[in-house]
Structures are given as structure tokens and as C-alpha cells.
């Protein structure tokens, strides 16, 4: 066989070459599986589900291999159709992309079990469609993470949006109205992205990120470039559900099917935030985004943090409260980007990972509570800690993480963000972090109090929550702790890269 004839060191080189060649498979595996799922599901739904799960598992291992290779040997580039950029489309995975890719793959795999559990009541082709859309969503999000071409990013943004509209609409009756509102606002966002890209294309003539980064400094002075950036950022702000533009998120999170929620809640906003990071720090870095533009972005983010926290206070339904809390937490990420120094950006990227884990743990635990009592409001979960001690503990760990209690992971991303803000002596932003954590304490402890301190009303119907829903919550809670303790290993990989790659000092 080819491999054993080659001495060991070469096999490493060969393996690296193989992974370098197989990198786009991170998107192609779920894509191909999605295309085959409806056909397979018509024959036998069980086989289709194993096929989908297997594809996501393989995809997760590949993403781990790719990210380790990137962290070991530097960015990987892949030219589609044999055409080098800027002629053809290019996939490029740098250190930060190598962090996001396994994150997307992991969450796709993790909530695939609980998402597909929902299909039992549906006809086979209905189920096949649900699984195909779920795989398309993970392919779309992975496509956004690894692409190096701005228009290709739009295409995969649209794939993930369309599949999210459908996944949200698959929930209860009111979900269809929420999905329609999400469709309208989401298509505004995607069209803003294309429109902003149009401006930049008109000025630079290219769609490739690296090439545009070279050609932007010459034209950054003109108003059109700033307008392009403004439209792109506005589009992504809608996708990230930043305050004033977050209208669609609470309904979408509340009425979406619980199975898919850990995936949607964790990753959707983060991938858009990552796209913003690529635009701000890959494309616009050399051109130096206008100082006051970033400053304005910072104030929008701060407003979003405060508004999200305050709005979350007033909610009885936990899903809606978690949606508003996501509005606040994504504000942390944007604030980290707009502060701009290496610590703040590291904090923002780390917070993307941490918040993805914590928020999806909350939703997974909530899914288990809902499976048990059928209700998802604060009174509905009263006294559940006695019957479901492990899930309640998982929810508490995630909640304490979001508040920022050491040694959980939320604390460390907040540490970097505040460290960055102090270094840039942006004192109002430091105050914003503090206030929002306190507000977070209030609305999370209200739930913890209800879980542990109030007695359950015996009348409510009680089913046994299936293991496939509880397991993700426990696994994620463990991850929250592990990410906290080993946050240095996660950070160690992309701080030098950001600082090294001429990023913000």
C-alpha cells in the first residue's frame, strides 16, 4: 500500500498534504449528505439519520485535523476549479478560522441527535427534508467560516439563512409568523451585504478578501468605501441580532423547535460576528477602518449590551430571556472588535467560543425541562432541581458562566475584554461590562432560585426527559468548565497569530 512504503516522517508530510487537499470537504461532506438525505429518507428514515450523523461525525474529525494543521503549519489556501485568486474562488483557513471550524462542526454534531429526535412524528420525506436542511445549515455556516471570497460568503450566508427560516418554521404554529418576520429582516441583511460588497467591488474590482485588502488602502478615502463598510456592517449587525436590529430573534428563538435550538442559538450569531471580524481585520485592516467608524460601532455594541440585559430582565419566558441575553452577549463580541487592541480582540474571539458553549448548554437544559414539564417559563421550572438534579446543575453552571464566575469560561473572556478596555482606557465600556454582568446575575439567579428554592406544583404532567436531550446539556456543562480551566491553550493559538499577522498591537 502506498503509505507503508513511505518512511514515517514522509507520512506526516503526506498526511499534511492530504489534509490540505481535503480541506473544503469540511463544507462538502454536509453538503453532499444534505443532497442525498431526502433520497435516502424516502427509502428508510433510520438509514438516512445514521448517514447524516456519520457525515457530521466525519466532518467534525476533519475539522479537528484541519485546525491542528493550520495551528501547526500556518494558513491553508484552496483554489477551486484550478483558478488562483482573484480569478477563481479561494478557501483560506487562518488561525482564527481554525478555531471557528471545529466549533461549528461540534455543535452541528452535538444537537443533531436532539434535532432529529423531533422527526418521529413526521412522514419520511418530511423527516428527510428536515435532516437535509439541518445539514445544509451546518454546511452553510462552515462555508462562511472557511471562505476567502466575499461573494461566496454571501451565497453560503443565504444557504444558512434559508435553512434557518425553514428550521424555525418547523416549530409550533406561531413559529411560521416568526419565521416570516425573520425571512424579511434576514433578506434585508443579506441584501445589505451584497450592496455593500457592490460598493467595494466598484472601487477595487475584486471579490477576493486578500486581494481587496491590498487594493483598499488606495481608495479608502472615498465616501463609497465607507458606505460599503457601513452597509456590510449593517447587514451583519442584523444577522448578529444586535440591538435596534434584533427584532426577529426573540420570536425566532421562542417558537423554534427545541431540538434545533442548541445549534441555532449557539452558532448563528457567532458566524456572522466572525464574518465581521474577517471584514474588519482581514479586509479593512491595512486600509485602517476609519477610527470614528469603529468608535461608533463600539457605542452601538455598548448600547446593545445594556439594552439586551435590560430587556432580558422583563421576560417570564426563559427562551425569550435567553434570546435577549444573546443580544447582550453578542454586543460583548462586537465591543471587543471595536476596542481593537490585541487583548480585546482575543477576548471577543474567546467570548464567541465561550458564549456558544454556554448558551447552547442553557438551551439544551431548557429543552430537557420542557420535555419534562412542557413549559419553559420561570414558574414552569419551579422545583425541578429535585427531579432533574443533573440538568439543573448543567443549567446553573452555564448561567454562572455567562455571569462570569471563575473558573468557568465566561470569566476569562470577560477578563480579556476588560483588560483590552482598560488598556485602551475606554472607561465607559468597562462600566458597561460591569453593569451587564450584574443585570445578568439578576435574571439568571431568578431562574436558579426557581429551580432550587421553590417547590414543584405536583399537578403538572411529568414525562421522563429522554437521555438524548439531557446528554448534550451535561456534555456542554463539562465543556464550560474545561474551557475555563484550559482557556490559555485555546487563546495561545490565535493571540500570536492576530498580533503576529500585523493585527492590532
Amino acid at each position: 500500500m502506498l503509505l507503508d512504503a513511505v518512511p514515517f516522517q514522509d507520512t506526516i508530510g503526506l498526511a499534511a498534504q492530504l489534509i490540505r487537499r481535503a480541506m473544503p470537504a469540511m463544507v462538502l461532506i454536509p453538503l453532499g449528505a444534505a443532497m442525498l438525505s431526502p433520497i435516502l429518507a424516502a427509502r428508510s428514515p433510520r438509514a438516512a439519520r445514521f448517514f447524516g450523523g456519520g457525515a457530521l461525525l466525519l466532518n467534525f474529525f476533519l475539522s479537528l485535523l484541519v485546525s491542528n494543521l493550520v495551528w501547526w503549519q500556518g494558513p491553508i489556501h484552496y483554489h477551486f476549479g484550478g483558478w488562483a485568486p482573484p480569478i477563481g474562488i479561494e478557501y483560506s483557513v487562518d488561525a482564527v478560522g481554525a478555531m471557528m471550524a471545529p466549533l461549528v462542526a461540534f455543535f452541528a454534531l452535538l444537537s443533531f441527535a436532539s434535532a432529529s429526535r423531533l422527526e418521529k412524528e413526521w412522514t419520511p420525506s418530511h423527516g428527510g427534508a428536515f435532516q437535509a436542511l439541518y445539514l445544509l445549515l451546518s454546511a452553510g455556516l462552515m462555508g462562511i467560516v472557511v471562505t476567502g471570497d466575499l461573494f461566496n460568503l454571501y451565497v453560503f450566508l443565504e444557504i444558512s439563512s434559508l435553512s434557518t427560516y425553514a428550521l424555525v418554521a418547523a416549530g409550533e404554529d406561531r413559529a411560521k409568523v416568526a419565521a416570516f418576520r425573520y425571512l424579511i429582516i434576514g433578506s434585508v441583511a443579506a441584501t445589505f451585504w451584497v450592496f455593500g460588497l457592490g460598493y467595494l467591488y466598484a472601487l477595487t474590482g475584486t471579490l477576493n478578501m486578500a486581494d481587496m485588502a491590498e487594493r483598499l488602502p488606495a481608495v479608502i478615502g472615498s465616501r463609497a468605501a465607507v458606505a460599503g463598510l457601513a452597509f456590510i456592517v449593517a447587514g451583519l449587525a442584523i444577522k448578529m441580532a444586535l440591538f435596534p436590529l434584533h427584532g426577529w430573534q426573540p420570536d425566532a428563538y421562542t417558537y423554534a423547535p427545541p431540538g434545533a435550538m442548541p445549534f441555532i442559538s449557539a452558532i448563528m450569531a457567532k458566524v456572522s460576528a466572525y464574518a465581521l471580524f474577517r471584514v474588519l481585520y482581514d479586509v479593512f485592516l491595512k486600509a485602517g477602518p476609519a477610527g470614528e467608524a469603529l468608535e461608533l460601532l463600539g457605542w452601538v455594541a455598548a448600547l446593545s449590551i445594556l439594552a439586551g440585559s435590560v430587556l432580558a430582565l422583563g421576560q417570564r419566558d426563559i427562551r425569550r430571556m435567553l434570546a435577549y441575553s444573546s443580544v447582550a452577549q453578542i454586543g460583548y463580541v462586537l465591543l471587543g472588535f471595536s476596542i481593537g487592541n490585541a487583548f480585546a480582540v482575543t477576548g471577543a474571539l474567546l467570548h464567541m467560543v465561550n458564549h456558544a458553549v454556554m448558551k447552547s448548554c442553557c438551551f439544551a437544559a431548557l429543552g430537557a425541562f420542557r420535555a419534562k414539564t412542557g413549559r419553559a417559563d420561570v414558574d414552569g421550572v419551579a422545583g425541578l432541581a429535585k427531579e432533574m438534579p443533573w440538568t439543573a446543575a448543567a443549567f446553573t453552571i452555564a448561567a454562572l458562566g455567562i455571569i462570569g464566575i471563575p473558573p468557568l469560561c465566561g470569566f476569562f473572556s470577560k477578563y480579556y475584554l476588560i483588560r483590552g478596555a482598560v488598556q485602551a482606557s475606554a472607561w465607559p465600556f468597562v462600566a458597561v461590562f460591569g453593569v451587564s454582568s450584574v443585570l445578568g446575575t439578576v435574571y439568571f439567579f431568578r431562574i436558579i432560585e426557581s429551580l432550587y428554592l421553590r417547590s414543584a406544583d405536583q399537578g403538572a404532567k411529568r414525562e421522563i426527559a429522554p437521555l438524548s436531550v439531557i446528554a448534550p446539556a451535561l456534555l456542554l456543562a463539562g465543556l464550560v468548565l474545561a474551557l475555563g480551566v484550559f482557556s490559555q491553550d485555546v487563546v495561545g493559538n490565535f493571540v500570536p497569530i492576530i498580533v503576529g499577522a500585523g493585527g492590532p498591537s
Binding site: L400, I403, G404, I405, P406, P407, F411, F412, K414, Y415, Y416, I418, R419, V422, Q423, V430, F433, G434, V435, S437, V438, T441, F445, E449, Y452, L453, V485, F486, S487, Q488, V491, V495
Partner: protein, 493 residues
């Protein structure tokens, strides 16, 4: 160089939490686990004593928490005092709470013992933390671990007390986080140094003042300094062993120790005097001392009176650390231990009175001295100690504090100390008087003590307070530890 004993001291009780939770159904096994953990922890801490007394600082660095900042545990003299106090009193409190809980048949005992173990391990972590970030990590862990204890008996009043506790401590936690981040920004990778590490930070005095303010708010809530003390009386609704833990063993003591760390080991006496904040903090502490005592006078509930007495006693420590002269710092560090022993005795007595007679108001205690001589005897001994009468631990620390006040040139605080002695006497003597001299004289009263596990701990701690008064270096050599830390902090070397 990597001496892992401090790490084991912290981890042993964390490790005990698992077995405690698992042996929920078998109380004896659960108590056994607590005892084993307490004994092991005490053993580890005492094993560090000779090395520290010989001037060494056994330390160990674990994984990095942030770039350039490791999870760094180091046993220095001041840390040793707090660690010894916490581990010793944990054994005594475990014994006491077995008796108290068994007697009182209170529910949720497993949650109590588990969070108690986490509290003590974070207290030891705070004692041995070598850099501000590690200190913050254990400080917030303590905050979270104490919440289940404050809301222990799940009553509406307890939940409200818990909410108040959360409001105070989490706002403080944010201020402390910002302060720690700012200090690591000013002096990257700094560890606690006797005499403070901020002197070379190059920050302007105005910035340093704000930084100090943030630190004091962050830690002051736990140290129950006057404007920030609101949560402590509200937390009195918890059962007595919890109050004992809150007051004497871990929580509030961690706050006071935190103030010592900030004032002596981050800012340092010379820097404090330079930015003119030493008299400000000292006067706030003095105000708390007097204010706390006055509030204690007004309280009729025994435990609430003891709570306000803690508020005022803790500010002795803050006062000593703020004054900055060697004697004051030594007195402050010694008072951490002295107040621990005395106050825990008072709470144990209050608990044993409650289990036996369900009296909570001071007026009800008439004639109790004859029925419960040992409990009331210990109570009187500890009360006198707190008032600062010679031959008791309180006197040693008060004497050094007064000496320090004179050395540092602010004589007015000596007057404060004397005034507080009278106030202490004013709010403790009525209790002692009603217990021994009032009540119906005539009928013969038989000896009516509670279960041995309830009256033995207060007796032990009262005797320990007496012993500490007479021989300040009794067993744990608190006095020498306090003075070594004080000399190092003020450069007398």
C-alpha cells in the same frame, strides 16, 4: 521550588465535596467525610507552619490563567494566619454542626456540608493566593459557594436575605474584577509583595485613588465596612453553624483578610500615605467600629446583635491595615485570629441556647446562667475578650493596634479604640447580667446543658481565646506570624 502542599490544602476539601454529595442517604458517612477532609486540611496547613516560621514561602504555580499570570499559590506569614484559623475552626464547626443539625433535624444537610467544604477550600485559596487574579478567582468562588448557605432553610425570609446578599456581593465582584484587571495592567504579572507592588506602576495618584476605591468596594462588601454591610444582618436568618461560618471562619474573615492584602500587599503603607488615602480609610473603619457598636446596642435579637458586633470588630482589622505602622499591621493580622476564636464562641453559645430553649431575644435569657453554666461561661469569657480585657486574645490585638496608632501619629484612633471597648462592654454586659443575676432566684435549677457536641466546641474556643490572650504564640504562633508579616510590610525587615 514547586511545593504542592498549599495546593493540596486547597484541593482536599474540594475533593471531599463529591463523596459528601454522594453519601446523601447516610448522614454518619457524610459527617465522616467532612471530618476526614477537615483533619487532612488542618494537617497540610500546619505542616507548612515550620517552613513559614523559618522565613521561607512554600509556593507552587499551576496552569496559566491569563498571559503571564499563573494560578499561583504561596504560603506567606499573613496567609498562614488566615489559613490556620479557617482550617482549625472548620474542624470545630463540623463537630458543632453535627450536634446542632441532628438536634434541629433541619433539612438539606448535604447541601450544607458540601457548600461548607467549598467555602473553606476557597477561604484557604484566598489565604494562599499569590497574585490578584488567583485571589479574585477564589474570592468569587467563595461568593457563589456561600449563597446556598445563606438561603439554607428555603424560607421566604431566607430567599430575600439571599437576594440582598447577591445584590451586594455581585456588584462588588464587578468592581473587584475591574480593579484586579487594572492592577495587572499597571504592573503586568505582579504578585503580592510585602510593602505593595504598585509603587513602581507609574500611575497618577488620581488613578491610584480610584483603583483603591474600586478595590475597597469590591472587598469591603465582604468585610462589612459600614455603608456596604447591609447584607450581613439580613443573612442572620440562616442556622447558627452557617452564621458561625459566615462570621468567624470564612466569608467575612476573607473580606477582612482581603483588605489586609490590598492595603498592605498591593498598595503598601508608604504608597497609601503618599496618595493621602490612609487616614480616609482609617476614618471610615473607625466610623464603622463606632457605628456597628451603636447599632448592636439597639438590637434585641441576640444573633443580630452579634452580627453588628462583627461589623464593628472587623473594622479593627481594616483600621490596623490602613494605619500602616508595624504594630498596627501586626495587631490587625493577629485580630483576624483572635476575633475568629471569640466570635465563633459567641455564635456557638447562641446556637446552643437556641437548640435547648429556642430563645432568640436577649430579654428571654434571664437566669440562663444557672441552667447552662458552661455555655454562658464561655459566652462571658468571649464577650470580655472582645471588649479587650487583659489576659484575653482581644487585648493583645487591641494593645498592638493602639501602639500602632501612636507610632503612625494618628492618636485620635486610640480614643476610638477605647470608646469601642466601652461600647462592647455596653452591649455584652447586659446579656451576661441577665443570664447570671436576674431571673427567679428561689427555686433550685438543675444542670440543663444540651448535647455534648453542642456545648464542647464553645468551651474549647473560649479556652483557646484565653490561651491566646496569655500566650499569644500558643500552638499556632499567630503572634510571630503577624509580626513577621508586619515587619516585612514596613521595611523593618
Amino acid at each position: 521550588m514547586n511545593d504542592t502542599r498549599p495546593l493540596w490544602a486547597v484541593l482536599v476539601s474540594l475533593a471531599a465535596v463529591g463523596p459528601i454529595l454522594l453519601s446523601d442517604k447516610r448522614p454518619n458517612l457524610r459527617e465522616a467525610w467532612s471530618f476526614i477532609a477537615a483533619a487532612l486540611k488542618f494537617g497540610f496547613v500546619v505542616s507548612l507552619l515550620p517552613a513559614v516560621l523559618a522565613g521561607g514561602t512554600p509556593e507552587c504555580k499551576l496552569l496559566d490563567l491569563a498571559p503571564g499570570i499563573a494560578l499561583h499559590l504561596r504560603a506567606d506569614p499573613a496567609g498562614m494566619v488566615f489559613a490556620l484559623l479557617a482550617s482549625t475552626l472548620w474542624i470545630v464547626t463540623t463537630l458543632y454542626s453535627i450536634g446542632y443539625m441532628r438536634g434541629g433535624k433541619s433539612p438539606h444537610q448535604t447541601a450544607y456540608f458540601a457548600s461548607f467544604a467549598v467555602c473553606v477550600s476557597s477561604a484557604i485559596g484566598i489565604a494562599f493566593a499569590a497574585n490578584p487574579l488567583t485571589f479574585l478567582l477564589f474570592f468569587e468562588l467563595l461568593t457563589v459557594a456561600t449563597y446556598p448557605l445563606v438561603v439554607h432553610n428555603r424560607s421566604e425570609e431566607a430567599v430575600r436575605g439571599g437576594r440582598k446578599y447577591l445584590a451586594y456581593t455581585f456588584i462588588a465582584a464587578q468592581c473587584l474584577l475591574v480593579a484586579v484587571v487594572w492592577s495587572t495592567f499597571l504592573v503586568p504579572g505582579a504578585t503580592f509583595q510585602a510593602g505593595g507592588f504598585l509603587a513602581a506602576s507609574g500611575a497618577t495618584p488620581a488613578q491610584l485613588r480610584i483603583l483603591l476605591l474600586l478595590f475597597m468596594i469590591g472587598i469591603g462588601v465582604k468585610a462589612a465596612i459600614m455603608p456596604l454591610h447591609g447584607w450581613l444582618p439580613a443573612a442572620m436568618v440562616a442556622p447558627t453553624p452557617v452564621s458561625a461560618l459566615l462570621h468567624a471562619v470564612a466569608v467575612v474573615k476573607a473580606g477582612a483578610f482581603g483588605c489586609v492584602r490590598v492595603l498592605v500587599f498591593i498598595f503598601g503603607p508608604s504608597l497609601l500615605r503618599e496618595i493621602g488615602m490612609d487616614w480616609l480609610i482609617a476614618s471610615v473603619a473607625a466610623a464603622t467600629i463606632v457605628g456597628g457598636s451603636l447599632r448592636a446596642l439597639g438590637e434585641d435579637n441576640l444573633k443580630r446583635r452579634l452580627a453588628y458586633s462583627t461589623v464593628s470588630q472587623l473594622s479593627y482589622i481594616v483600621l490596623g491595615a490602613a494605619l500602616g505602622s508595624p504594630a498596627a499591621i501586626a495587631g490587625a493580622i493577629f485580630h483576624i485570629a483572635a476575633h475568629g476564636f471569640m466570635k465563633i464562641t459567641l455564635f456557638f453559645c447562641a446556637g446552643s441556647i437556641y437548640t435547648r430553649t429556642h430563645y432568640t431575644e436577649i430579654a428571654q435569657l434571664a437566669g440562663l446562667g444557672k441552667r447552662m453554666p458552661i455555655t454562658m461561661g464561655a459566652f462571658t469569657l468571649a464577650a470580655l475578650g472582645l471588649a479587650g480585657t487583659p489576659l484575653l486574645a482581644g487585648f493583645v490585638s487591641k494593645w498592638n493596634l493602639a501602639l500602632g496608632a501612636i507610632h503612625s501619629g494618628n492618636e485620635v484612633f486610640v480614643a476610638i479604640l477605647v470608646l469601642s471597648a466601652f461600647l462592647n462592654f455596653a452591649y455584652f454586659f447586659p446579656i451576661v447580667y441577665t443570664a447570671f443575676f436576674e431571673g427567679d432566684k428561689g427555686e433550685t435549677v438543675r444542670f440543663d446543658e444540651t448535647h455534648v457536641a453542642v456545648w464542647l466546641p464553645p468551651a474549647l474556643t473560649a479556652v483557646a481565646a484565653l490561651a491566646l490572650g496569655m500566650f499569644p504564640d500558643f500552638f499556632w504562633s499567630f503572634y510571630t506570624l503577624a509580626w513577621t508579616a508586619a515587619k516585612a510590610a514596613t521595611g523593618l525587615g
